[in-house]
């Protein structure tokens, strides 16, 4: 049982103009079979117009313990949001 097919992460573009989104994973011997299997496992009801598959081992991910250092600095930068600025109604739509 050592010859297990590698794991692939599957990304589907749901509609034209949308980005690919992660939908799940599957096992396949190579990329070609991974795409064929992804078609059967993840698009049985017209869920997509395009498939990406990526070897799961090739994905680098941030660690949960890095959540603070990575994302906290942007919390205080509220001026990055348009609602930070009060624009008088007289100016009209902006």
């Amino acid at each position: 049982m050592s010859n297990e097919w590698p794991l692939w992460e599957v990304f589907i573009r749901g509609q034209h103009g949308m980005s690919h989104r992660h939908v799940g994973s599957l096992h396949a011997p190579d990329a070609e079979m991974a795409i064929k299997n992804a078609r059967d496992v993840y698009t049985r009801r017209n869920e997509g117009v395009s498939i990406w598959v990526v070897p799961a081992a090739q994905i680098a991910a941030s660690s949960p313990s890095d959540k603070g250092p990575l994302f906290d600095p942007s919390r205080s930068k509220v001026y990055r949001h348009p609602t930070f600025f009060d624009i008088p109604d007289d100016v009209g739509a902006m």
């Binding site: 010859n3 097919w5 011997p29 496992v41 660690s63 949960p64």
Partner: protein, 325 residues
């Protein structure tokens, strides 16, 4: 349910860490694969998701039995699509289990060696075409009762798998009810077949929820972790309340002389299934346990050369590409 009688594993971590973990769950946060989790949570989930996945895969067998004998080409195409969905559901769930650190081959090996179980319901035979209707209507109906709340389970990958599954499951129950309607409105012989299917699948369907777990310590822990959302009795009652009017619509009789609407509670009173039979089926003595396991063993061993061959082919292609570069 598809995962029956899941015992929770003991956890021995630091109390402060456990409290912080529980607080995240109580706040409705999802736990993701790389997050810290108690060992007991991880092991219990592997057991529960694994058993659920195995049930989807073994669950293809009773219905697969009728694919070649479906009464029309349309019914055959629908049944094929339904059985293919079950395979897909098994795959979503295996992937969710794998995020907890167990390999697919390990999961398969544990099913084949009998260390992991699948739902008791799939050890009953599908003797007539009406049984295919009863399975969709009752078995998938019971499964939905459990799966809808599990969409809110605390473990992210499990929750996402359940959301996908629930989207597809409603087709399964409706196609089953559609078969039952056709049979129930058919000839006398067809009506008898529909009633016979209900008679045989009623109590095994009630057993799917597992015995009363009001006093179970495992249930308490699993509920606190939000990997179990409702008690077995609560879901069983909900299933009965929903199904009885559907049987009345079909003109079929639920095989329970004690069944009646209780005006005080607004719920149906009903007879418990034979729990002796349930435990006997779990121990391996149901009508089809041996057949189901043999089918899975054969599929695994006869598929070995295909799995190995495709890996060898992939390695050869890779080597050629490297040589050409």
């Amino acid at each position: 349910m598809y995962a029956q009688m899941i015992q929770s594993e003991a956890t021995t971590e630091d109390a402060e860490q456990l409290a912080a973990f529980q607080a995240r769950i109580d706040a409705g946060e999802r736990i993701e694969p790389k997050d810290w989790m108690p060992e007991g949570y991880r092991k219990t989930l592997i057991r529960q998701i694994g058993q659920h996945a195995h049930s989807e895969i073994v669950g293809q067998l009773p219905e697969g039995n009728w694919i070649t004998r479906a009464p029309t080409l349309e019914r055959k195409a629908i049944l094929l699509a339904k059985v293919q969905d079950e395979a897909g559901h098994g795959l979503y769930l295996y992937c969710a289990a794998e995020t907890l650190g167990i390999s697919r081959d390990d999961l398969t090996e544990q099913l084949l060696s009998g260390r992991m179980k699948y739902s008791s319901i799939f050890n009953y035979p599908t003797l007539t075409w009406a049984d295919v209707g009863a399975v969709g209507w009752l078995v998938d109906g019971a499964a939905i009762m459990n799966q809808v709340p599990l969409q809110r389970t605390s473990y992210g990958p499990y929750s996402r798998a359940m959301i996908r599954i629930c989207k597809e499951e409603s087709f399964h129950q409706r196609q089953g009810f559609d078969i039952m309607m056709k049979m129930a409105q058919g000839t006398e012989a067809q009506k008898r077949m529909a009633q016979d299917a209900l008679n045989r699948f009623w109590y095994p369907s009630l057993m799917m929820f597992g015995p009363s777990d009001a006093e179970s310590i495992h249930s308490t822990q699993n509920m606190a972790w939000r990997i179990k959302i409702n008690s077995n009795d609560e879901l069983r009652q909900k299933f009965v309340d929903q199904t009885v009017p559907q049987a009345e619509f079909l003109g079929l009789t639920i095989p329970d002389p004690n069944l009646r609407l209780n005006p005080e509670t607004g719920h149906y009173d009903f007879s418990e299934p034979d729990w002796g039979e349930f435990f006997d089926v779990l121990r391996g003595n149901g009508p089809c346990n041996a057949d189901r396991m043999e089918a899975r063993q054969t599929a695994w061993s006869e598929g070995q050369w295909v799995r190995d061959g495709l890996m060898a082919h992939a390695a050869k292609k890779r080597a050629r590409r490297v040589a050409a570069e």
